[in-house]
Amino acid sequence: MTGKQTIIPFGPQHPVLPEPIHLDLVVEDERVISAIPSIGYVHRGLESLVDRREYQDFVYLAERICGICSFTHSSTFCQGIEGMMGIEVPPRATYLRTMWGEYSRIHSHLLWLGLFADSLGFESLFYNAWKIRESILNELEATTGGRVIQGVCKVGGVRRDVTPQFLSEMDDRLDGIEDEMKELTNVFLNDYTLKKRLVGKGVLSKEDAYILGAAGPTARGSGLDIDIRSTGYLAYGDVGFKPVVEKDGDGYARCAVRCKELFQSVEIIRRVMTDMPSGDVSVPVKGNPDGEYFSRSEQPRGEVVHYLKGNGTKYLTQFRVRTPTLTNVPALVSIIGGCELADVPQIVLTIDPCIGCMER
């Protein structure tokens, strides 16, 4: 039947999307017939600056790839330079990086849970999630000096140390935060109405997730056991890491993965704090990077790949970032067709899109 379709420009400016992305939604009644994404609203061309900033200063740019995963970006970048130059980072620095990385994962997941609740029209849950997130941000600010952009990584280690006393205080506060998070995730995982809205929505099968290159919680929600932390980079090798995997591949499964990862991160932080080795937090860096390197690590959203290429000067010649959101876009396109209009924001959010990352 012709003419029963409504064509909606969904985004770039849209209240449920904190970042600009555009979807051409074709809906009939409220069923989505087709949804073609269009991106590029946040593309800045940051990678082009690599030949104009010294590689050591570029860390501050790398962490501004994205304001949510900033820490992971800076540590991945440093890891790449260090790998290329063969710098041995002091163990305390790797432990601190692990700790901050997990803190920022918690902050990112809480942020996502909040936005997710918001997209479902659950205002108080949104507030609750962000309220808990503030305590995480406080920890980050107190230890690194920045709330969302920490600026604490540098090539060869980290810029700041945390006193053992403060570490133990953080450890104590973590218990309270964990309790609050338990209360929060209980709502996400067990609320009847939320389940009604999540279960069976936007199902991504394991095979599709694999072929379409899904990463992070999106892949793990579909039963794929992909988590770069399993490779044991930084201190993950020492903490006995096991990825959280859910089988169903629907919105609920992806939400559950993130909820469970919150507690996994808390566990990792506890282990890291207890086992924190002493010593320096950075080593001096001499010389310039030369060669190519693929640096990988696990962002809150999945596997991030930094490709670096140096030519022996203090300017890198090539820097490419492949972010998890980018590889999750094909998965998003495949799961959004046929859903209800009311579920569009929720399905878009289940891949946890971070457009800032995706487009650099």
Binding site: S124, N128, E134, N138, T144, D191
Partner: protein, 124 residues
């Protein structure tokens, strides 16, 4: 209905809100709020200018001025790290916003007096 408990608990507790304009802003000892320049220690070495990722600092050797655009500074603290003369430091208060008419750069006259043997700072 799982939210009920949280809602009721929060209803009977004080709000967590910081009443910001009345209360002072929250920050920590290590918070990187804004950059402070000590004109008496600057040797015009221009390291800060060269290594600033956002090129917010302009050091004019000839005119002996140090200029910072607060609306370009990213508060990364890299300049503080590279400054060998302790001329720069980070303070914890954030920089103030400005209406269109008030916006400008902050300019400092460098009052550093060279000791007997001036050190020459090589850019690289």
């Amino acid at each position: 209905m799982k939210m009920l408990k949280t809602i009721l608990k929060q209803f009977f507790h004080e709000p967590v809100t910081t009443l910001f304009p009345e209360e002072p802003p929250r920050n920590y000892a290590g918070t990187r709020g804004h950059l402070v320049f000590d004109p008496s220690k600057c040797t015009s070495c221009t390291m800060c200018m060269k290594r600033c990722p956002s090129q917010a600092i302009i050091v004019d050797r000839a005119a002996k001025t140090w200029i910072i655009d607060r609306f370009r500074c990213v508060m990364c603290g890299n300049c503080v790290d590279v400054c060998k003369f302790d001329s720069l430091s980070m303070e914890r208060e954030y920089s103030k916003s400005a209406a269109a008419a008030e916006r400008g750069v902050e300019k400092f006259d460098i009052t550093y007096v060279k000791p007997e043997k001036p050190k020459k700072e090589g850019g690289e």
